[in-house]
């Protein structure tokens, strides 16, 4: 919910190449990567549905595409090294790319006629790149915070 409000109120001020970052996709990518496919799909469904209800257009389009994206990203949980900071960045880039293409495809079936090439070049690719960078940054902070908490607990626990 906070992510959605942030996206609506704050992120338009931080447009790059004419697009806003998709915070929900960034969070979904990292969450699915850490928690696995079922939880990734569940969060994708919730996030997507929330966004659809907020936008009140083609309700279900984001829910479907984000659910599938969360599931697919979650499959990488055990296959990729979670200590590698680059992984979430690359995953977020690919996840946004995939979700964008699915959005265009399913959108066309549902009646959302956005030109394919323009959609891919002017929206999907810039957002994917933006999200990839944010995920890289966000995951670095997350890892740093997790390491700090672990160290604090170790110091605090009786030997």
């Amino acid at each position: 919910m906070a992510g959605l409000v942030l996206e609506a109120a704050l992120l338009p001020a931080f447009k790059l190449a004419g697009v806003k970052a998709d915070l929900l996709m960034v969070v979904l990518s990292i969450y699915a990567f850490l928690k696995g496919a079922p939880r990734g799909a569940a969060l994708g469904l919730v996030y997507g549905l929330l966004e659809d209800l907020y936008l009140a257009r083609f309700v279900g389009l984001n829910a479907l595409t984000m659910m599938v994206t969360g599931y697919l990203v979650g499959l990488s949980k055990d296959a990729l090294n979670r200590n590698n900071l680059l992984v979430p960045g690359i995953l977020a880039f690919l996840a946004t790319l995939g979700q964008g293409l699915m959005f265009l495809l399913v959108g066309h079936l549902a009646g959302f006629q956005y030109p394919w090439l323009a959609g891919l070049l002017a929206v999907v690719l810039p957002v994917a790149f933006y999200n990839g960078c944010l995920a890289l940054l966000g995951y670095s902070f997350y890892q740093g915070g997790a390491t700090w908490v672990a160290r604090k607990r170790k110091i605090g626990s009786p030997s």
Binding site: E7, A9, A56, P115, L117, V123
Partner: protein, 304 residues
Amino acid sequence: MSRRGRKLVAPLLLLLAVAGLYAVMRWTALERGRLSLLEGSLRDALAPAERGITLVVNRAGGWLATIKDYRRLQAENQALKEEVAALRAANVQMEEYRQENSRLRNLLNYTEVNRQAFDFAVAPVIGRNPSNWYHTLTLGLGSKAGLKKDQVVVTAQGVVGRIIAVTPTTAEVLLILDRDGAVGGMVQVNRTPGIIEGSPDYRGYLQMVHIARDAPVMENQVVVTSGLGGIFPRGLLLGTVVRVLPEPDGLMKRAIIEPAVDFDRLEELLVITRVKGGMGDGVSGAGTPGNGRPGSGSSPAAGL
């Protein structure tokens, strides 16, 4: 010397000393241009020491005063810091009020100029669409304030869009940048009509599509609403043509239009609640085209 004589020496010496000292006293009481050698030497000899001691005493006095006043100074410092912070906040607030005043003054001027043609309601923008696919924004007024679906939203610069959904306290505005927000438009100077919609490849720009190849559409021409379609009144400013491109089929062409409105900087908008008529071209800021700065997307003018 007799015993009596010796007894007189001391008082005599004393008397002489008193007289001598009195004479010196009288002599030195007068203003003198030069001191005696003894006085001057003594003064010169003592001057550095005096200077050092005075310095130390002054410094120590200052330090002592500082120590003595430490608590008071600390409290004063804290109070001053708070005052500076409060003044800074007030300054920021004043700047906000100043800018808001300037924006509202512009809107007021616009409403005064167009009083014959429209009734307006001023609505604040409270949110923008979080998606990159749709171009909408949310106003902080809704049906309670008399806003309805399909009412047109403008600024002093030009057309923003139309209301597509209302709740009692909010209204959703579909921007003319949206693919579904197409508007009937025309080139003001030669009345060439066309459909104006958001450009999918030049993000942040509009495009007039399906223009006949030989139509006299050129760069720097102003584009206004045509009034066709029944929602947007005629003559509202849309933007300025910045590029004309051939369509892939080679038979038609399209014009890329820089919107008059800067869609990323909208804070208060005017909703046209009633059209009275009497609207002509050239109203609605047509004299100031190109105020919108879509620059965040790819610029069609870049290659010119």
